[in-house]
């Protein structure tokens, strides 16, 4: 089994703990071995790179150096913000001079160039939607209409992120389709939700997240599915503020894609953390169950019609 060095990111210990716990459970269920990076520290996130790029890369690089001891295939993280900082650090440190500067700030220098990937990339490429679909022949999420939202930095800029299409990513679409869900052509897949401005400028987040929720609702989505803790928080926790900005009252559950994968794979509720979401996920799951019941009824009726025709013909 391939072993990955796992970097949960700070929000995984707090506001996005259901993302962390569902990620771990889904990886276990799909045979992806995660080894936590011992004593990992914050990557610096957005605030560090707005101060200085050397500081930002050094904060990320401390974790790259710690991961070297684990002899793992790659360092992987669920959080796109951590992913960006770690990947940008690796990218810039390919310049020898810059690497020397970064290493001067560290206790333990970075020796190797560890590949960094998102957990989504590993699940989409190393496991793959076909293998997931094969495990779930009954399509447990049939009838669930999803707006897939990747956030702005999972795939951008493409030279650094090197994953999927930067305007129309499909990795999460394909994984959700493998569960039987109906994945809608969401036009704002990579538009920014307002990122980390929620606290200092919530008017900005309310407006940008409001646009996203409007688009999802207008498409007829039962829920939004996302891969980013910050996007999830802006769309879910701040949904009331986004609604006030858009002049609508939204009731749109916002799942992490790992929660839906876990739900389909039969991961225990305690690991899925659906009760940690703010907008009640029942709204979407009830709609899914109703659609499944309708489908069963349609199939039963068409079967009955066939029998009647057969009987008449006989």
């Amino acid at each position: 089994m391939t072993k990955y060095a796992y970097y949960p990111g700070c929000s995984g210990l707090g506001t996005s703990q259901e993302y962390d716990s569902s990620t771990r459970a889904v990886c276990r269920a799909l045979g992806v071995e995660l080894v936590d990076i011992p004593d990992w520290s914050c990557c610096g996130s957005t605030p560090a790179h707005t101060v200085d790029h050397l500081l930002s890369s050094a904060l990320a690089a401390r974790n790259l150096a710690l991961a070297e001891n684990l002899d793992a295939t790659a360092l992987i993280t669920p959080c796109p913000s951590c992913l960006t900082n770690l990947k940008v650090a690796v990218h810039r440190m390919s310049d020898r001079e810059f690497r020397l500067q970064v290493n001067k700030l560290l206790d333990k220098p970075v020796d190797r160039s560890t590949p960094v990937k998102s957990v989504l990339q590993v699940l989409a490429e190393d496991v793959g939607p076909d293998a997931v679909a094969e495990m779930l022949p009954n399509k447990p999420l049939a009838g669930l209409k999803l707006a897939p939202y990747y956030g702005c930095i999972m795939n951008r800029p493409p030279e650094v992120m090197q994953f999927d299409d930067h305007e129309n990513p499909m990795a999460m679409d394909k994984l959700m389709a493998a569960l039987g869900a109906e994945v809608l052509p969401f036009p704002l897949k990579v538009e920014c939700c307002g990122a980390s401005y929620g606290v200092a400028r919530k008017d900005i987040v309310a407006k940008l997240s409001g646009k996203l929720l409007e688009a999802a609702e207008d498409l007829g989505a039962h829920a939004v599915v996302t891969a980013c803790p910050l996007c999830q928080m802006n769309l879910d926790l701040r949904q009331g503020q986004a609604g006030a900005s858009a002049g609508r009252k939204f009731q749109m559950p916002v799942f992490y894609y790992t929660q839906l994968l876990g739900l389909a794979l039969g991961v225990p509720q305690s690991k899925l953390g659906l009760s940690k979401l703010c907008v009640n996920p029942r709204l979407a799951l009830d709609a899914m169950h109703a659609a499944q019941a309708e489908q069963r009824e349609r199939e039963a009726k068409s079967e009955a019609d066939k029998q009647t025709l057969k009987a008449k013909a006989a």
Binding site: S41, G44, A48, L59, L105, I153, P157, C192, R201, K207
Partner: protein, 185 residues
């Protein structure tokens, strides 16, 4: 229309400095406007990003370092990804705020306070302490009523810890900050 007398006010040294720190060639911008067309933040900016690029070509240091836009760019990478001349525009925006910080310009104080408080938390604990970050931000800005509506939604979920997640190597993280400051002197 605003007229800028480039001959009188162009700061060539400023352009060279931005080019060196961002590793980008500012003169490559031919003002197609693709960056502004895709920028989700234009509605909140005082200067749209394509005009930031033009003012940069014209060496308008004071105008740029004192503008709000450089503090509101979220580095969503839309501009960088879509620039036909492969200019890393988001990196230039980042570099402009680095310079603004160093030279004491702050046009979006709350944004700066939030980022600084975040980094203080990392320096102190090794990982960011979300509750502590919010409490300190509110104390520093006096914005006691902001987001009061969110408390009843998030607190019952039991996700926010009231204690920081200290790591063993927090001194090592603090050392990174200390050594970084030494390089800046």
């Amino acid at each position: 229309m605003e007229v800028v007398d480039i001959h009188a006010s162009c700061d060539h040294e400023f352009i060279a400095q931005v080019e060196a720190e961002s590793e980008q060639k500012v003169r490559l911008c031919y003002q197609c406007g693709n960056c502004t067309a895709g920028c989700p933040y234009t509605f909140a900016y005082d200067i749209p990003v394509s005009q930031v690029m033009r003012l940069l070509q014209a060496g308008q240091k004071e105008r740029l370092l004192s503008c709000k836009s450089i503090w509101l760019c979220a580095t969503c990478e839309s501009c960088t990804t879509r620039c036909p001349n492969e200019i890393d525009v988001a990196r230039i925006m980042d570099v402009l705020r680095h310079m603004a910080r160093r030279e004491g310009y702050v046009s979006e104080r709350n944004v700066k306070v939030f980022w600084d408080t975040f980094l203080d938390s990392v320096e102190k604990h090794g990982r960011v302490f979300e509750m502590g970050l919010l409490a300190t931000y509110v104390a520093k800005t006096g914005r006691f009523w902001t987001d009061m509506d969110l408390g009843p939604k998030i607190l019952p979920k039991g996700k926010l810890s009231f204690k920081p997640h200290e790591i063993q190597g927090k001194d090592k993280v603090a050392e990174i900050f200390k050594r970084f400051r030494e390089t800046q002197q």
